[in-house]
């Protein structure tokens, strides 16, 4: 691999760009070395920007024949010791669960950016929050993955860099979950060199093809994902699940506002959180007893933080551009805490939710008229 000719981002500067472009710059700034990908709207521009920067910064790229291959070649890139990533959406995300199952089983730190679009099937190429279940729990496993849900271009940039560190430190497939609106809209953000902000990048290392003579300097590595008997699998899963649960508290991230003393707590993630935050802050400024809770990691889910945030609430409002995918996570993670709270919902699969809609729903609930 040739040495980078120049550093992609020096210091920091404010820019106006689309989300896809921000992802690309984050990957470059994070020192990602190779991208494998397949075209699908609305993430194509990540590849467009990446390929244009390949010669300039000594990076690599392969357009594969489909998302199955994109996922498996990314696994290969990681096995060879590179910071490798891919991006996908919708039906591509469905296909990608094939390789992602393998990455999950074998603790291969792939980084995947998902720009959610309408579902199921082809639906729209535009927007939704309908790939939450798929990204968190897709594949035939237990969802031992890390999923960050972003709500702005700044976060797209910040968390794409973080995803590489999280993946290589903890060795789980790590996702940046955004959507078509974030991918295609243009807004301001500050791009920066992680070093300039004191962020050190966790080094990648080869899992196969390490230097040295077999039998003298090292042993041969044999990686598999198949077992012969149930007990073997049980041991492997117990080991992985135990570790996942052990490190989850270090990984979870969430945000809460005005939840102490709030009668109503609004729960949303991703770009819908943005609308919810605006609505809640507006109402709170008027003295209304309303707050919000936002999971940043959907996986592992900030359960403890959620339960704490809603401990004093009388009711909850869950808003998402899906039909209950966030709601399911919320309910599951409320259990054991205050699980009898009435939960109202704004469920709009594949459709955006504006601050005005959230304000209206909150006002109606706070006035006791119901959603």
């Amino acid at each position: 691999m040739s040495e980078a000719i120049a550093k992609p981002v020096e210091g920091e500067r404010k820019v106006f760009m689309t989300g896809n472009e921000a992802v690309c710059w984050a990957a470059l700034a994070a020192g990602a070395e190779i991208m494998y990908g397949y075209p699908i709207t609305p993430q194509n521009e990540i590849m467009h920007y990446w390929t244009r920067n390949v010669p300039r910064f000594g990076k690599r790229f392969l357009q594969t024949e489909d998302e199955l291959s994109a996922g498996f070649t990314t696994i290969g890139g990681v096995l060879a010791g590179r910071r490798a990533f891919t991006a996908t959406a919708g039906p591509g995300n469905v296909l990608m669960q094939e390789p992602l199952s393998m990455a999950e089983a074998m603790r291969i730190p792939v980084v995947v950016v998902v720009q959610q679009r309408g579902g199921p099937s082809t639906a729209t190429v535009i927007y939704s929050q309908q790939e939450v279940t798929l990204t968190c729990f897709g594949g035939n496993g237990e969802g031992l993955r890390i999923v960050y849900s972003t709500s702005s271009h700044q976060e797209l940039f910040d968390y794409t860099i973080k995803a590489f560190n999280t993946a290589w430190k903890y060795r789980w497939p790590t996702f940046v979950l955004a959507d078509g609106y974030q991918a295609k809209m243009r807004e301001s953000l500050i791009i920066y060199d992680p070093g300039a902000r004191g962020i050190s990048m966790v080094p990648a290392e080869p899992l196969v093809g390490k230097p040295g003579k077999i039998g003298e300097d090292r042993e041969a590595v044999h990686l598999r994902n198949a077992y012969s008997v149930e007990e073997e699998l049980e041991v492997a899963l117990a080991r992985d699940i135990t570790e996942y649960e052990r490190v989850a508290p270090e990984i979870v991230e969430s945000e809460a506002f005005n939840t102490e003393g709030a009668d109503l707590v609004v729960i949303a993630h991703g770009i819908v959180f943005r609308s919810a935050a605006m609505a809640v802050r507006d109402l709170a400024a008027q003295g209304k007893r309303v707050g919000y809770f936002r999971p940043v990691t959907l996986r592992p889910f900030p359960q403890e933080q959620l339960q704490k945030a809603v401990a004093g609430a009388k009711m909850l409002l869950v808003a998402e551009s899906a039909y209950g995918q966030l709601l399911k996570l919320v309910k599951e993670n409320l259990y054991g805490g205050t699980c009898n709270l009435p939960i109202e919902t704004i469920l709009r699969p594949g459709v955006g939710i504006t601050p005005e809609e959230v304000t209206e729903a909150c006002s109606a609930l706070l006035d006791g008229k119901g959603a």
Binding site: F16, T41, P42, T124, V125, I126, S152, G180, Y181, Q182, K184, M185, R186, E187, S188, I271, R274, S275, A277, M278, D282, A285, G352, I353, T354, P355, E356, E357
Partner: protein, 191 residues
Amino acid sequence: MSKPVKIALAGEGGQGVQSVAQILMDAAALEGKEALYIPNFGIEQRGGVSIAFVQIGDEKIGAPKFKTGDIVIALSDRAVRRTRMYVGPQTLFVYDSGIEGVEGDLPTNAKQVLAIPALEIANRKLHPRVFNILIMGAVIGATGVVTLDKAREAIDKRLGYKFEQNPELRELNFRALQEGVNLVAGMGVRS
């Protein structure tokens, strides 16, 4: 908290709707304002009406799309029909007076409906190529969302490479911008 100005621009492919949106964004950036722009994209965009949603304000914009715009501008008959859904009681609805057969399709719930002879003026006094810059001038005139100064700077930034080859183009574009502002001012619109 001051709310951002919500602008929806719609027209046929080739009328320069997305270009105007981008230049407005650049101007907002130069003003030091916050802005968010998103086009309609995907299957609808191919062969359909081209729509740009632009929001400009002092604080970070809350959501990429909006239910009703402060100003909605439609540059074709299909655009008139397509953008009706973004019109509310506070909306200024602007359309090109040259569009035929849309009388029955115009929104009835807008704050004000304005027909401007943008294309006619562009053709007669300027050049059809700067029609979209004239529209941009109309948007600025109606909303004051950016200053003309920064608008000109933004146009220079984006189209400067063309002006280098043909300096008259700069004059033409700046005149179109002014024409747009004048057009709207002359019709008594101030938001």
